[in-house]
Structure formats: C-alpha cells, structure tokens
Amino acid sequence: MAESTIARDTAEQVAKGNLLYETQQRQARHFRANVALSWGILLLILLFLFSGQSFLGIKTIQLDYEFIRSNMAFIGRGINDTLLVSVLSIILAMILALLAALGRLSTIPPVYALSTFYVSLIRGTPLYLQIFFFFLALPQLGIILSGLWAGVLALGLNYGAYMSEIFRAGLSSVGKGQREAAMALGMTPSQTMKRIVLPQALRFAIPPIGNDFIAMTKDSALVAATGFVHEIMWNAVKVGRAQFRSLEALIMAAIFYWMMTLILSYLQSKIETRLSRGDR
C-alpha cells in the first residue's frame, strides 16, 4: 500500500514539475514575442519620424529619398574598408594588450613602467588626435605610412591600451592554486603561463574582445579624417557635402553601421553561448 502511495505521489510530483516547466517556457515565449513586437513598434515609430509626413500635428524629418536611393550602393561599398581597418586594428590591439597585461604583472621595474606608461599615455589622449599624430608626425622620421596603416596603428595602439585591462583581469582570474600546482609538477614559470594560465585567461577575455571589436567598427569612422581610407564615413561625408545632402548621407552611414553591429552582436552571442558550454 505504502509503495503505491509513494508511486502516485511521485507521478503527481512529476506532473506538477512538468506543468511548472511548461508554464515557465510559455512565459518565456510570451516575453520574447512581446519584446519582438515592441521592437517592431519602436522601429515603425523611428521610420515615421523620417517620413516627412505630419500626423496629428507632429512634425517629422523630411529626407531626399531620391538621393538616398542613388547613393546607397556607393556608401555601402565603404563596408569593405571599415571591416578591413577594424580587423587589422583588433589583431594589433590584442597583441599589444596581451604584452601590456603581461608587463603589468611583471616584477621587473622597467617592464612594469613601460606597460603602465603606454596605457597611461594612450588612455590620456583622444583617439582622433592619435590618428592625426601618426599621419602627420611619422613622416618627419622618414616613416611614411599609408592612411590605412596610420589609422590601424592608431586604432590598434588605442584599443590595445584599453584592452590590456581585459587581459589583466583574465590573467588574474586564474587561481593562485593552479600556478602552485603547476610549480609542484615542475613547470617553469613560462611553461605555466603558456600551458595553464593563458588558455584559461584567453577564454575569459574573448567576450569583452568581441564587445570592443563592435565598438571599434564605429570608431574606425575617425580614420576617415585623414582622407586616405575610403570607408563608410568618408564615402558618406564626401557625397553628402558635394551634393548638399549631408543629413541623408550620414543617416545612410548610420544604417550601415547599425546593420553591421546587429550582425556582429548576433555572432558574439553565438560565441558566448559556445564558450559557456565549457562551464560546469
């Protein structure tokens, strides 16, 4: 008798559990559907703001859609250079950030000083100024970088300084016990760094790097200032100015940047999900 009661209770509990789970799932689905609906409404409001129509006395912004149609493809062609600059810069930034983070953890005073000096100098000056510095100052030393490489150097150095904090946090996230265990196994400090600390630190650092890469695709617009990198912003400013349609041209650039960010954010969330599988 007692056994069947237990069996019935368990079945009931399972049923209850399933019900609870289904309710939660349904609520989550509802939430997602409502978020999507709200996004759609916000997007419609944004589109209405640029329709040029007046509705219930609300004024909206009038744009020259003929200009937009005929210049969309040209401005969009700048995506290649925007991505090229961003990818090259993030590679340089990662190298510099890793070196700066290792330097920051160093016990050798000049190395520690070099690392902190670099981070302080770069974080203490505007990126816009740094881009012009490499474009204008280096030729005096006989180093003539193309606009692209001057921009990549400036962006890479700038982001490297900020990202060094990410790598430093990653390196310190690896417990002291692991280093001690590695030492007990007879590994040298460099072996410990290469085999134990770095692999874990890099996994910790990847999501914030993705975040910085997304930010960089937009900061790469500053490289247009030197005039030699024909990326989205440069294309937009030039066709906008020559044909007196700067507002339209900048809005088109904004759309391209937003689209790129949406795609990159999606990829980043995929990578994060993948990485979190390792966490148990």
Partner: protein, 301 residues
Amino acid sequence: MKRLYSVLVIGIAASLMLAACGGGGASKADNLLDAIKERGYILVSTDPNYEPQSFLNTAGTRASGTKCPSDTLTTAEMQGFDVDVAKAIGDSLAVETCFATPSWDAITAGSWADKWDVSVGSMTITPARQAILDFSVPYYYTPAVVAVRADSGFASLEDLEGESLCAGAATTYESWLNHDMEALGLPDSSVYAQAPNVTVVALETDQECAQAIAAGREDFVGYVTSETVVDANIAAGFPVVKLGSPVYSEDLAASFDKSSTLPTDTLRAEVDNLFKAMHNDGRLTAISDQWFGADLTQAPK
C-alpha cells in the same frame, strides 16, 4: 594554443611587411617630373567636396589594370572641372592620372611628405601659402560673393554690420572676413569690397555653412564663398541669395610642395606651359563652359 601563437606571429609579420611597403620604392630619378614618368602615373590631390569643381563619380568603377595605388582614386571615380584639368596634366605627360583625397587643411599646410605630387584643387594663390608651396600660373578665376538667407531682407554689405557670417576654415573667405588682407594677399585691383565687421563662424568646409542655413540653424545670417559654390547651392534649392556683386576675385592655380624630396621645378615648368597653351587654344574655356556654364578662365580686368 600553438595555432593561436602562429596566427599572432603571422599577423605581426604581415603588419610589418605591409608597413614597410608604405615607404615606397627607391627611384633613380633626380627630379619629380622624371620620377612621375618612370612610375607611369601622376598623383594629384583634390578635395572631392565641391560640385562642380571636384566630386566623386559614384557610378564610376575603378579601371582594371590601373597603376594608381590602392588608397587613391582613378579618373573613372572622380569628376569635375579640377578633375578634367588634372587629367589634362596627366595626358600631356603621357602618364595615368590618380587622385589622392587628403583633407583640405592637410593640403594647404604643406609638408606633403611626398604623399602626392601636385594639388589641382581650385587653390587661391596667397602669400602665406607661397611661403610653403610653389604655384603654377592661374588656370581660372572665381569671384567671391556673400550669400544670405533669402528671407533675411539684407540688401547690402553695410546691413550685415554686427551680424554673424560663416566661412570654411583656412579659406581665403575666412581671411577676408577677418580683414586679414595680408593673408588674403590679393592685389588691390582684385579686391572690390571691404568686409563688414561681423562675428566669423569658421566651419570645416564652406559646404557646412550653406547646409546649416538650409537645415534651419540660425548661428549666422549668411556665408562667404566662391560664386560657383553659391550658384550650386541655389540650383540645389537652398533658400539663399547672393548679396550684391562679387567682393573680390581669386586667382586659382595648381600648387607644389616646397619641401618635396625631389625638385619640382621641371614639373612646374611643364604645367605652366600646358596651362598657357590651354588658355590660348580655348581648351580651358571649353572645360569651364561644360562644368560652370560660363567662362571663368579670363583674368579680371
């Protein structure tokens, strides 16, 4: 991890190699003209912010097999009066014409670090610029005018006393507004009027002035720029009118960097001869008619 390291190493190596390439190859030429003929293209800087002088041809595609460096534009991607004049220079030297597009203040500041050979960008000859740049003979002349909002009711320069006017930064229009006749450096016969005493608002280019007014901003009542630009503004439907007659006339010429590594004298002589020939045989007039609908190539009397 090994793979990550090799990616990093390759990344660094590639960066260094490409950076080294930016320095340019060695050349045997001992003057700029020979260097241009040797490499097969002339690199002209122009500021594609101005229709009809110099603007992008968004429908044009880069010719395959072009000699132009990748960060420069080809003749197919550019159009305008200055662009056609630049093409004529390239053609007369039997080389391809390529366009570098640095910002205007980088061109007028001099010290080009050999990044381009010559500027063909409607540049006014001024004494301040002559200290750092060498100029060709003028290839055309534009009158500078004051433009004001159409509904402002201003009728003469005197009416503008105490108001705000806009001009592009580092332009002769800004110098004129600031009563800086030394920087303007024009002969008295070319200056037709003195600027009223106004607050000067200097924006990045002249084009921001007109667009700010069209957008409904009220930071200034008008702006000073070349008559050709105002005509283009009016043609684009901007609510502006020209105020009276031109205030001065500018001699516009091609310019060369005094700090160029290779001497520019032979190239300058070629360009001078070409411009003189084009003035004489009517080729400049034809290009001017095509882009401005008027002949701006005659010196003011």
